[in-house]
Symmetry: C2
């Protein structure tokens, strides 16, 4: 069975959306690689897990970037919160499955 | 006042995260430009606003891309839903503020 005919302008816009979505997925995958490395570094070096000053700077910066790109700054902040929720989930999983460096066997 | 000393590896990872976040914000801005154009096209050409088959294909594709990139496919699906919620909000705003082409004056 063939696909129903699709408006060529719609097909073109959808092709752009699909390319952008692939880029977003890969950027998100790379971001989570970075935050996992941050989590491991903070655990290893006994650094404080949260840094409210850094988080406030990130929000302010993303809101400004969004404004320049004609994106709703409130949406940009909601987006960062959405990502951070997933980062916290990763850190919790890492903590719950961590094997201490000094352990001589799994436990 | 100077910033407190920061672990160099943490500073490096944060620089990567900041670059990725800027890329994400700009990709999102471009994605919403595309979905706004889709909304305008569908309104102009009287095309159906929703396309469940297209949406199912998008979810399946993003889940597969996420898996290949070592990203949780459930997160990728949640992410698409998060974006789509914003797209719907844009379409509602556009609908509520639309001025019909045939109107001779604002109303």
């Amino acid at each position: 069975m063939s696909e129903p005919a699709i408006h060529p302008e719609l097909a073109s816009l959808r092709a752009s959306i699909d390319n952008i979505d692939a880029a977003l997925i890969h950027m998100l995958a790379e971001r989570f690689r970075c935050t996992r490395a941050v989590g491991a570094l903070k655990a290893r070096e006994k650094l404080p897990p949260a840094d409210p000053a850094r988080e406030a700077r990130q929000i302010a910066r993303l809101r400004a970037l969004a404004k320049d790109a004609d994106l709703d700054p409130d949406f940009a902040e909601k987006f960062l919160n959405f990502i951070v929720k997933e980062v916290i989930r990763h850190h919790e999983i890492a903590r719950d499955t961590a094997i201490p460096d000094t352990a001589s066997e799994r436990r």
